[in-house]
Symmetry: C2
Subunit: 306 residues, 2 copies
């Protein structure tokens, strides 16, 4: 790493009560937080696969690389502590690009009290690759898992779905504030974040629980972006809401009385909506106003390794 | 990630007392370890920069990506707990390559009681990129830093130096066992690992301490590989030992009486050698048998960002 870039990074890396900045050391030191478990997540974004530098500002790419990890922490009910940033920069213009990436990372990190505590900065003749690992914490035994949903639990979701490609996939708010409130004040049986499409991720959630889910399609919160896409895509706004990826909202399994309370009081910085319930019988179902149900196909973004 | 690869990973990911494997969850959970600080390090390796797939087996590449992080933990006196593996695989043959990389990662992880606790597996039309983040721990207040060396401290090193390119750069043993013994049983004022060359890394160490170092060049432990390289490189074996990168041995600042004891008892699984001492006056010096000293150039691998 060139010295001026190291100096630039040091000047901008905010101090943090838990982190002894280890930039001059071989690794970063984080103070113990008694009574807490660690939650760790990692995500790698690649030029040409996850974004195109010709189309997106580096600040937004840096922001997103951190935000997808923060969304994973929110899905576990954790709060964020420190992030570690590894990057391979194209050789030409690498330092400028690095500064712009970090501007986006620093801004989101400051919003969620996350220290940029370490990293590894490289340059090469290849495309930009950005890999961020985030360390968070939850009180012992309080982390949400995907497993834990029970038949009868209500399916609650934060925010709206569909059409993320029109902008939200870059500018979304990881639901850490919502998760922090819920983990302290509510009973949540299971949770996950929606990265690959509402119906596909919901099918994964029931797969982890050996149960099924009935969706009330009329209640699925559809984003304005999904409505806008539907005008030209040949798909309905509801189809977009059910299958588009990168909403980064939370799906929560909530016992019925708790769900009633949360829906009535709306205590979060984002709307909570009931979209259905978990049932004994495995499978994903849509339920109409009359109560009749039909199988619902799980659609979304499938990751494949060839 | 293709399902068969996920299943393969799950079957091989060893259980660990500290880690609830989070493969089905959004992030990994690690149990708290009261009285300990966390030590976190991250390193990214790229095809064509750090290795060439045409020349090195994927097992050794995977091993090295983990080993460089473990060496950073050893330099802090930490022990390793869990690793997180993010990888971008070339699309053709990606799954086979991933399995081979992981074979090398798993083998070294098992040797050092490290759980592969999470990761992110991607494929693309670009070269292989492998980024590993390792979480370790030390008892509170016991981590070694680069700062802390005092004039009069002896400079001790583990192992031998130079010629790593002939093989050790791939097969080196991260000095975690040596560090674990020393952090419990000895007084170490400062430490770092040698990744970019003995004289260059030593010059960085004195830079962090505002002091100088006198090296007794006759006592620098020279590897057989450095001798072998010297036969055709036009450089002496000593020059290789002082400037070749990727030795991944430890430099330790040790108070004189403690140094005597360690050198006499040789308690580690690797030889300890005294190569000089820290002095008040800033700068790197070589000292001859007669006691006269001359400035010594710091040479090694300099990372540059263009």
């Amino acid at each position: 790493m060139e010295l001026s870039f190291v100096r630039w990074l040091r000047e901008r890396a905010t101090p943090h009560r838990r982190v002894a900045l280890g930039i001059g050391d071989d690794a970063a030191l984080l103070a113990d937080s008694p009574g807490h478990e660690l939650v760790v997540t990692t995500d790698m974004l690649m030029e040409g696969v996850d974004f195109r530098l010709a189309e997106v500002s580096p600040q937004l790419i840096g922001r997103k690389a951190l935000a997808v990890n923060l969304s994973d922490l929110a899905a576990m009910g954790a709060r964020s502590v420190a992030a570690f940033v590894a990057v391979s920069l194209p050789r030409a213009g690498g330092e400028r690009l690095a500064r712009e990436l970090y501007e986006g990372i620093f801004e989101l990190a400051a919003e969620f009290d996350t220290s940029i505590a370490g990293g590894d900065t490289n340059s090469w003749d290849g495309p930009l690759v950005l890999s961020i690992t985030v360390v968070g914490e939850t009180p012992v035994g309080r982390a949400w898992r995907r497993a834990g949903a029970r038949p009868g639990d209500q399916i609650l979701v934060t925010g709206q779905f569909g059409g993320s490609i029109l902008g939200k996939h870059l500018s979304f708010t990881p639901r850490l504030r919502a998760a922090a409130w819920l983990v302290e004040q509510a009973t949540i049986h299971a949770a996950m974040d929606v990265s690959d499409g509402l119906s596909l991720d919901l099918s994964r959630l029931i797969g982890e629980n050996g149960c099924g889910a009935e969706l009330d399609l009329a209640s699925v919160p559809i984003s304005a972006a999904a409505e806008q896409l539907a005008r030209s895509s040949g798909k309905s706004a509801l189809e977009h809401a059910l299958s588009d990826g990168e909403d980064f909202e939370l799906i929560l399994a909530v016992p019925p009385a708790e769900a009633e309370r949360l829906l009535a009081t709306q205590p979060l910085d984002v709307p909570l909506t009931r979209i259905g319930r978990f049932v004994d019988e495995p499978g994903l179902w849509s339920v109409g106003p009359s109560g009749g149900r039909e199988p619902l196909a799980a659609r979304g973004f499938e990751h494949r390794l060839e």
